[in-house]
């Protein structure tokens, strides 16, 4: 039920989004965002994917490896692995993906979506800050992609995350109810096509 509420909030927020060009530019420490960077020592999520009318469920495990890279494995409930991705800053590795999902556009979309959530592109060099009313937009650029982290004025709350191309918003996401640096729920919604991902943390043997 809570997850549904988050998604509803997300949809409401999307309707109110404004063009960034009109915003006030500010000097500021965009790296306050680092305090929201999730710390996925090891987390298991129940996962629901809805894409163009199709529904898929499974389990997503996210784990930080000894070399500080982050691994992400998606399996169905019966244990069959769909993909295994590795993230480390700007580096990305596909360790495994089933043939049926092995499409350039699919991999690229998932990579960028999760790079936003994992905050892989936060650095001083590409950072910028904009103000729109009460919301502060911390912007990080990677090639043609813009990663936005929207906070309150004190940078005490991460309201939402967005990814834009040069011209338009591609998707937005929320991560809420952090416990020990791990969000309890994560929601992703794309703007240009019907694609949502909902993650709800579940606790298994490793957490007991």
């Amino acid at each position: 039920m809570r997850c549904l509420l988050f998604i509803s909030c997300l949809l409401g927020v999307m309707a109110c989004s404004s063009a960034y060009q009109k915003m006030q530019k500010l000097n500021g420490d965009a790296n306050c965002i680092e305090s929201f960077s999730p710390s996925f020592s090891r987390a298991l999520y129940s996962t629901k994917v809805n894409v163009v009318g199709k529904h898929l469920s499974g389990l997503l495990i996210i784990k930080t490896m000894p070399d500080s890279s982050i691994r992400m494995v998606f399996t169905n409930e019966a244990g069959f692995s769909f993909f295994d991705f590795g993230f480390r800053g700007d580096d990305f590795t596909v360790y495994h993906i089933v043939e049926q999902m092995d499409r350039k556009a699919v991999v690229k979309t998932l990579r960028k979506d999760f790079e936003l959530i994992l905050m892989q592109h936060i650095d001083e060099v590409s950072s910028n800050m904009l103000k729109d009313g009460r919301e502060y937009y911390h912007v990080f650029q990677r090639k043609g992609d813009y990663y936005y982290y929207i906070t309150d004025s004190a940078c005490s709350k991460l309201i939402r995350m967005e990814r834009w191309s040069r011209r338009k918003k591609v998707m937005e996401a929320i991560a809420v109810d952090y416990m020990m640096g791990i969000p309890d729920s994560i929601g992703i919604k794309h703007n240009n096509f019907d694609f949502t991902i909902e993650l709800k943390r579940i606790y298994d043997h490793a957490d007991q």
Binding site: S57, I202, Y203, H205
Partner: protein, 211 residues
Amino acid sequence: MRKVIATGVLCLATMIAAAQYPGYTLLADDAAFVTRFSAASQKTSTIKSDFTQEKNLSLLADKIVSKGKFWFKKENKVRMEYTTPFQYLMIINGSDIYVKDSQKENKISAKSNKLFQQINTVIVECVQGKALQGSDFSTRIFEGSSSFLAELTPINKNMKSLFKNINLVIDKKDDAVSKIEMHEPSGDYTIISFVNRELNTTLSDALFAVH
């Protein structure tokens, strides 16, 4: 000389096979096993069991453990109900598959979803023992003190892309499958262990109803 080399190669292969599965010895002739297992399968009309599923992620040095209840009814009806740490229901009834997660329920025609069909058919055929007789796998049988181990290696390209091999552990007490090990090409593997097995109890068809 040729005979000596052939015997040497055979001995070496047997030793390698034995080393692969400690406690098990490769059966040179599995005809007796096939007869025994086929007879037992013929007599088994239903199975009711608890199960523990352990998904091992080799490169992550991690595993996901889930538990639930399992029902099987001849010829091709399976109900798997995951109860912890998540709720998920899967019913296979002939060519129809019904799944229900915490958000949605779905009736899937196995014909329209090949990946789903292949994975689930493998589970059903492994429980039934049909996988041992089918043409999708080459089979080697190993014998241990309390169980047999059937190693199934995919033959066709499609199945090879999904599984490196599947091992079935068959308990000598009831000649029923007590464990399914599914090894993926990535090195990850899933073990489903069936415990508290009850054979040939009455199971209602309603359990396998695909709405």
